[in-house]
């Protein structure tokens, strides 16, 4: 897997590069927007890590340069801008995910893994993982034909897990996407909801679909046992 990091802060770029290389990714670094746009368009990368504040060409302009030729390329945006509108603007301009600075390396790494395992986000109304079936329009969930009643929040959580089936999802990613809050909560709200969801989805079923990933978060998949 080859990743391009476009980040003008040399120390931060080097820290990201070293971290990703230790996970056996091949990493290139571009220190300004122009160089990044050129490399992103010409070289076949599997993922782009893109800062928004860049010299010569800003991150949004880099996205606009790269997207027409690489519509499937996953892009993770790094931003220090606090406004929700900036994040929305980045996502609308073609980014697949955003992470706020400062971030922990483990969070960045989890998001990179999640993006690398998925194609472009699905917009289907029906989601299916093994025998678990979700109709997003009818707001109905079934497992092996058995109806499962979910609250609005449980539905949103399950939908997020199903959309990211087979990927490790951190608690921060869940709280950000399902609760729309970009910092840790005081309570264990995510774990509580996962436990209730697990009772409704997995209890009585021949195999578990919602797995705990120790030290990371959760994963919804058809594999057996806990995920190490």
């Amino acid at each position: 897997m080859r990743i391009l990091v476009i980040e003008d802060d040399a120390a931060l770029a080097s820290y990201i590069r070293k971290g990703l290389e230790s996970e056996h990714y091949a990493v290139d670094v571009a220190l300004d927007g122009e160089q990044g746009a050129l490399m992103g368009s010409d070289v076949d990368y599997d993922l782009l890590v893109l800062d928004l504040n860049l010299p010569k060409l800003d991150g949004i302009s880099v996205l606009r340069c790269v997207r027409p030729t690489k519509p499937q390329l996953p892009v993770l945006v790094l931003t220090a801008r606090p406004r929700v509108e900036d994040r929305v603007h980045a996502l609308d301009s073609g980014a697949d995910d955003c992470i706020n600075k400062p971030f922990s390396y483990s969070e960045l790494s989890a998001r990179v893994r999640a993006l690398l395992r998925r194609g472009r986000p699905s917009v289907e109304s029906i989601l299916q993982v093994a025998d678990l079936h979700m109709d997003r329009v009818e707001r109905k969930v079934k497992r092996s034909g058995r109806n499962i009643d979910l609250t609005a929040k449980e539905f949103a959580l399950l939908e997020y897990l199903m959309r990211n089936a087979g990927r490790r999802i951190t608690r921060s990613m869940i709280i950000e996407h399902v609760w729309n809050i970009s910092f840790d909560t005081c309570t264990n709200v995510v774990d509580v909801y996962i436990n209730y969801l697990r009772k409704k989805v997995d209890e009585g079923a021949p195999n578990r679909l919602i797995h705990t990933v120790r030290g990371v978060g959760y994963e919804l998949s058809d594999k057996a046992g806990e995920v190490a």
Binding site: P82, R83, A152, T185
Partner: protein, 209 residues
Amino acid sequence: MSEQREFMSDTFHALAQPVTALRATVELALSKEMDASASQRAFENCLQLIDQLMQDLAVFREIASLDEQPPVETCDGRALLQSCVAEMELVAQESRVQLKLNAEAALIQCNIQMFQRAIFLLLDEMIASAPSDSEIAISFCKHDEGFMLEMCPGTLQGQRQKLCSKLMRFAGGFDICATSESITGIFRDHTYRHIPALTLVDKRVLTSH
């Protein structure tokens, strides 16, 4: 003090403490020969301090991101509050805390998303700091100028409380008062119509007649 200056001052004070502690930990670690386990402990201390710093920064980022009053709309305040409380019911049960809601029928003017975020964050913090087998009382009752939301006990002082107060204000609330005993705020009745303040020209026109 202007809101912006107060924010800057709060930010400085909140960040100064963990940065100072972080520097002291590193200085101490560098000043003496340490075995592997002592180094490990020093690194773990640093990581804890950095995590705290990142948490504080994340809350400041949320506060800073609220810079423009969003539009308010008429909504069923009681139903909205009931759904917010129901969402945290499971978390409260796990912590053996009872959520007691007493809400009158109330058509209010508010921004629904901001209201939901404010109640979620308030309940999240209240539940986390409440002792087992205690109760959190939430009431929403008629008041002179609309409906008063009251949540007891309040939350611990700090940036999260400031964020909640700001979210309540952005949700359309006013006269917000947050203490460790309670947090209160008033939401306008749906019939309220905002009358813009008279301009100098208006006043001249009025007084000349």
